[in-house]
């Protein structure tokens, strides 16, 4: 049977290096959780509902609903810095 040798059409991927996530909290009571609206579709309405759930079920958690400063394609160091300095955790949404 005749066989052919052919070249791969695929490009060259970069090396992947492990990134370390932040340490988890030992609980949410007394903590400030930022709900970060990525401004995609109706994320703000969804996160408003999540904020209401937290108020009803985890009343010891302080929540802040914050919209990112621009589109989700852009980095937003001002918002990230605010969360680091004034908050303890973040919930980002909603990816589509």
């Amino acid at each position: 049977m005749n066989t052919l040798g052919v070249l791969s059409p695929v490009g060259f991927p970069p090396k992947v290096t492990r990134q370390h996530p932040a340490p988890r909290l030992d609980g949410l009571d007394g903590k400030t959780v930022y709900l970060v609206d990525c401004r995609f579709d109706d994320s703000d309405i969804f996160l408003g509902q999540m904020q209401a759930w937290l108020a009803e079920h985890l009343s010891g958690v302080r929540t802040v609903l914050r919209r990112i400063s621009s589109v989700y394609l852009h980095d937003d160091p001002t918002t990230w810095e605010e969360i680091r300095s004034r908050g303890h955790a973040a919930i980002l949404g909603v990816g589509h």
Partner: protein, 438 residues
């Protein structure tokens, strides 16, 4: 991921379930396979607060566990070592595939989704070597990098990688400099956007004639070998060079886009145009050959000619039919282009662009309510970017421009069998030299 790694903030990301494979894959290739991600049903858009509350109260459709339990655990449960993944890993791309029969190789290319589902030419060493003779560049030279979306990693590709995909598309060596120039733009023709984008490529300069490209009858259709195979090669190189375009994983276009088969590649009809060529508008000399790429090709509006009495109204109607996030590029048959000169007095393309900008208007209330304006333009306006920020102050009934002037373009193409013309909603990206890749 930025919040986790750079700011040390424990974070949970919430996505819709349709995007599970995508976001897990993105987390993995960014070195955080255990990133805490929670899923809710698709869609979010258009749901009432009560319906979205049911998402919050409900279960993650991927895991079956309560959504809020996963959110709370995601912020508080420590990571197990296994969740962190390996310290690093490399993925290699072998230059050659294992030899096999012709039928089996065709099957392998299809199974690996390396094709556009149409038959390809198998890239043997001899065929790739013949393609490489179309440029003076070294085979191992890196031409550029691409990715299917903002959050994915860039993959690199060499002159030889581009040649392999050019062979697969059925291109001839004399077309190779155009294909290399397209590759060098780094603009993918296989965006993963759920909006189902395609690309468009316009070739200018003497090379159009040297390689027999078509700017006349049927220029945008399947009637010219160079047009068809250059565009196809650009698409194949994009999907393979960037590491894939797989539905549900690295391609999320909800309806797909037929323009993606050819990446709408054609030559501008410079000889019959009343205006300067497109590449000259973008800093190239008339005697240079260049290719210009557009992304986000989705919307098409069309009409025939310009009527003496109501042409302005007709053009405004076409413009209003576009989404404000997809600015207009007019593709004018030479007959229509001359009508714009005769009826509108647009002796220069820029005068026509000015008129289009000033006449593509919407009431501010309607404009800001478009979903894509809300997603992509309103955030930039609130961040102070002009000219959008100025539009925020307009009363809801006040007419404001739908598009930025610099996003409106005009290209002349067609064979004068009639004065049909169209508007493509798309985003001009850049113009690059083809001569540099000869």
């Amino acid at each position: 991921m930025t919040l986790e790694t750079r700011y040390g903030v424990p974070t949970v990301a919430v996505h819709t379930d349709m995007f599970e494979r995508v976001v897990r894959s993105v987390a993995q290739v960014n070195g955080m396979p255990g990133l805490r991600q929670v899923f809710v049903p698709q869609p979010i858009m258009g749901k009432t607060p009560a319906e979205l509350r049911r998402y919050v109260d409900g279960r993650d459709p991927v895991t079956g566990r309560p959504v809020m339990q996963e959110v709370v655990e995601g912020l508080t449960r420590p990571f197990a070592d296994a969740e962190l993944g390996p310290a690093e890993f490399e993925r290699s791309t072998p230059r050659m595939l294992e030899p096999d029969t012709e039928d089996n190789l065709h099957r392998r290319f299809l199974d690996n989704r390396w094709t556009d589902m149409l038959p390809i030419v198998l890239p043997t060493e001899a065929r790739v070597a013949a393609m490489l003779a179309g440029t003076r560049r070294r085979p191992d030279e890196i031409v550029g990098r691409m990715r299917s979306t903002h959050f994915r990693e860039h993959w690199a590709y060499s002159v030889e990688t581009v040649a392999v995909n050019a062979v697969m598309a059925g291109a001839r060596p004399e077309y190779f400099p155009v294909i290399l120039a397209l590759a060098a733009t780094g603009v993918t023709a296989r965006s993963s956007s759920s909006s189902a984008m395609a690309a468009m490529a316009v070739v200018n300069g003497p090379l159009r004639h040297e390689i027999g490209m078509n700017a006349g009858i049927g220029a945008m259709g399947p009637y010219n070998h160079a047009n068809a195979t250059i565009g196809r090669a650009y698409g194949l190189l994009s999907q393979n060079g960037q590491g894939g375009s797989v539905p549900g994983l690295s391609y999320m276009g909800n309806q797909g886009n037929g323009y993606a088969y050819s990446s709408l590649t054609f030559a501008e009809n410079e000889e019959r145009s009343p205006w300067e060529p497109f590449h000259v508008q973008h800093g190239r000399k008339p005697e240079e050959s260049a290719v210009s790429v557009f992304s986000g090709v989705r919307a098409t509006a069309f009409t025939l000619g310009l009527r003496a009495r109501y042409w302005r109204e007709h053009v405004r109607n076409l413009l209003r039919g576009l989404d404000p996030n997809g600015p207009p590029t007019l593709l004018l048959d030479p007959i229509a282009a001359r009508q714009f000169v005769d009826r509108g007095g647009f002796a220069k393309k820029n005068a026509l662009v000015d008129w289009l900008h000033d006449n593509a208007l919407l009431p501010a209330g309607e404009y800001w309510d478009y979903q894509l304006v809300q997603n992509y333009i309103y955030p930039r306006a609130t961040f102070g970017e002009q000219p959008w920020a100025a539009g925020l102050a307009a009363a809801p009934d006040a007419l404001i421009p739908m598009f930025r002037r610099e996003d409106i373009h005009v290209v002349v193409v067609g064979g004068e069998t009639n004065g049909y013309w169209r508007i493509m909603g798309c985003n001009y990206q850049k113009t690059v030299s083809v001569d540099d890749w000869r």
